[in-house]
Point group: C2
Chain length 520, copies 2
């Protein structure tokens, strides 16, 4: 059944490399079983064959740094992305692995909670403690648009490792050679860190059957996915239909509205338009946080904003996209938008004539009233294009915001005096009811990895709005709590022992502390 998968340079249509073997459903199930066995048989800390999750993360980070040059070179050929962007992405991926290692060491991922006993309470309260433990093997589906940060050794892999889970990595077929080279570095690091080789397994393949087999394999405990709504929802449905359902953390992109207040429009319309153009054109618009919809009310400055956007978009020339498939998908969704009589194409977008995945970027405007009547027009155009929705007044703009679907981000461009405007407060609340991350006077593209990071949001932005796929709390997705009642100290996990041998922060009787616990 298995063929080979070959990389393609989207700039030229030429093949990259000689092809990697494709895995099928049997390989998926075998990988899951091997990961589950390694997970089940993992030696306790300190026992022969044991390894440390933080050390593993750091070893992977160092391993990637060692081959950064090769990674960037091959990814540039397979993705057409600029080398400086790719260099930055490798650095971010390395830093992300180290951030998870630090959070793990610090105990921030342990969610250790201790309620000491109260024998005098009525009824008497026993000693209760809990700690987060790993769920088991995680199937990670990597994305096409971030060949490092959301791919083989990206945020999902890092957070699964940080949680203590083995990873079965389903590589994205858009960059098989990049995935292969990265995977070899990860596997070498796994061995160097003393972990079994089954702790990380890479599967290459483009078939739907491979993905379905992974999502339904008995030995997979959770799925992480970044990609389209259609593919994400298929995995969600497959996992929900299992005898034992498992969680699917699918990040599926969104429209990322950017709202400009009248004051900001008047004072900075042109400036905002130029900044916006950068966010729409960068990486050919192939970012899950790219603004698909700009919202403003008619008034002074609107012409400046649209004019600046028009100049930048029409002057950009053809851009190369990741694959012809993505390019064709963007072109089709853009054509669909233009079929609406109320949509006006300000800068026409069209596929390039030469070989490869070239597309000229587009800009359109639409009256807010049309979107209010036909909310199906509010869809993501994954690629170099955006739409400016023009409301007749602030009231209509507010009503439009109230109809927006769930989104990863929402951006508000405002002025200082807007902070006292009750309409702006209402607008911010309405956006926050729909978004995972709110940005003030910035752009949604670019996600900083920290403790406070939220890269998530209500459906259809994700299938699990309570979680984030970026930032240290992303590890929470792959954990569950285990409680211990009146449990002997010698048998407790180190995170919960009285002496706090790991020196981690714990919530003890309602207060966060690193102090040892004194039993009543």
């Amino acid at each position: 059944m298995a063929g080979t998968l070959t990389g393609v340079d989207p700039r030229t249509g030429e093949t990259v490399g000689t092809g990697v073997p494709e895995a099928g459903p049997d390989e998926a199930r075998a990988a899951a079983a091997a990961a589950a066995k390694a997970f089940r048989e993992r030696p306790a800390p300190g026992a022969p064959g044991s390894f440390d999750d933080a050390v593993l993360l750091e070893t992977v980070a160092a391993g990637l740094e060692d081959v950064a040059g090769e990674l960037v070179e091959v990814a540039a050929r397979e993705t057409g992305l600029a080398e400086d962007r790719l260099q930055g992405e490798v650095a971010r991926t390395v830093n992300q692995l180290r951030a998870f290692a630090a959070a793990r060491r610090d105990g921030l991922l342990a969610d250790a909670i201790i309620d000491t006993s109260r024998p005098d309470a009525s009824p008497p309260r026993p000693d209760q403690r809990r700690v987060a433990v790993p769920l088991g093997p995680v199937a990670v589906f990597s994305a096409s648009n971030f060949p490092f940060a959301f791919s083989t050794a990206g945020g999902d892999t890092a957070s699964a490792f940080a949680a203590g889970c083995p990873v079965i990595l389903k590589a994205h077929p858009a960059h098989p050679v990049t995935s292969h080279v990265t995977g070899q570095a990860v596997s070498a690091a796994v061995r160097a860190a003393g972990a079994p080789q089954e702790w990380f397994q890479l599967l290459q393949g483009a078939s739907v059957e491979l993905g379905q087999a992974l999502a339904t394999a008995d030995d997979v405990a959770a799925v992480a996915f970044t990609g389209s709504l259609r593919a994400g929802r298929a995995l969600v449905d497959a996992a929900a239909g299992r005898e034992v359902p498992i969680p699917v953390f699918a990040e599926m992109g969104s429209i990322n509205p950017l709202v400009v207040t009248p004051a900001a429009l008047e004072r900075r319309g042109g400036e905002i338009g130029r900044a916006l153009a950068g966010a729409v054109l960068g990486s050919a618009g192939q970012l899950c946080t790219k603004p698909n919809l700009v919202l403003a009310a008619e008034g002074p400055g609107l012409d400046d904003l649209v004019g600046a956007l028009t100049d930048a978009v029409s002057g950009a020339g053809e851009l190369v996209m990741l694959t012809t498939r993505l390019r064709d998908g963007f072109a089709a969704s853009w054509r669909h938008l233009l079929q609406d009589a109320d949509v006006r194409e300000v800068v026409p977008s069209s596929p390039g004539a030469r070989e490869g995945a070239w597309q000229s970027p587009g800009l359109a405007t639409v009256p807010a009233a049309a979107l209010l009547q036909r909310p199906d027009l509010l869809e993501e155009h994954f690629g170099p294009g955006t739409v400016v929705a023009v409301a007749r007044n602030g009231d209509e703009l507010e009503r439009l915001v109230a109809t927006l679907p769930g989104t990863l981000t929402a951006t508000l461009q405002g002025e200082d005096d807007d902070k006292d405007d009750s309409g702006v407060h209402r607008l911010a609340a309405a956006l926050a009811a729909r978004a995972g991350r709110m940005i003030w006077n910035g752009l949604p593209t670019g996600v900083t990895v920290g403790h406070a990071t939220v890269h998530g949001g209500p459906y259809p932005a994700t299938s699990a709005p309570a979680t984030t796929s970026v930032g240290t709390t992303a590890a929470r997705r792959f954990q569950r709590p285990v409680g211990y009642q009146a449990w002997p100290d010698a048998l407790l996990p180190a995170e919960l022992q009285d002496a706090n041998p790991l020196g981690i922060v714990r919530l003890v009787d309602g207060t966060y502390t690193r102090d040892r616990v004194v039993r009543a």
Copy 2:
């Protein structure tokens, strides 16, 4: 479509009250829409019509205390449960509401995280903050076996209120009058706390259609359920098939294994048997944490354990169950167990001859080898009965533990010297891989409400192993994070403002503190 629903005294079969009107799918959808409107239009803190979640919880607690006598009286008639047990349950329910109020005030439910900006970092790091916000209307399906603590004003309702969510309560048809009286007290408290009446709505009904309509109503954001695997899974499947899937937090009971080490068996076999009998017979065994399976290896003390259990169970006489339906369900599952040739009925269990839901309790033994061959015998018997599985040796016992399904609790009865036994360490690890809560030398019945409480576990114990349905962290089920990037202080939620006006604990640059934030 709607008829009326009447309570029944399971001790006599006599009706209780004159019947309450049954709601149908239309009422479910209307209630959800009304809750969503109240949620959407909730005034900001301090604005006219605003209310405080902690005050709401405390007002409900006080309201229940005021009618505690009436509640116990009517519940005793509708459930047949002992009055002292019911008094304790009301007290626990009241304390639980207050514990959520305190956790809410303290900020422990806000999950507030702040990463201050680092303009000098490469790339520069913006100020990022996040806070947990409520998901929206929660549909709560109450349980039959705890008419207060897991019912109208129970843990699910309390944790939804604590998260800031309105509740649509689908009352259990086994105690309609108790639900009605409790619901009236809750509704009065909602009004007294200044919340809109739609913040709590009670629906009575026994139809499958009512439950399905709630789980699929567009305006419901999450479902909480306590009951059988079959009913819970039906809700999980209904919610998964929605256009916008929503989480279902179903707690579906489990087998709650109790393992006795050889040392404990030899020294305390009889004592453990007597204690176990109390956990099996109390509330006629109708607890989701009742031990369904006792595991021990052949050896000194086994006869003492089985003998003590036999004496207590055979001497208990007939016990009244909550409903004839539950009694018939228990009797059927017990008969199914006994069909296996290797199962030996030590104390026969049979339905009582008189009117009502009477059943004499049962005890059976089975060789561990039979369970290893036929794991389908490992099922929950919801009622007054338990099974002792006898292994030929410690190795067989360990193998049996490794096949157990997900469970709410696992109990280990051991001795001090067991703490150094590597076999016991392995046993504890194998149990922790399957259980939500581990108990040492105690009994799993009885759940203490605290920060460290875990009342959850791998499927089929629950549909959401990452969560707990008891304890203050149960509120996390109904929240999602919202992030704010470079957001002006004046527009931030109070939980995230620099000055920390609520005085809550927050994770600021990796350290928990109540200090104000100083911006760079």
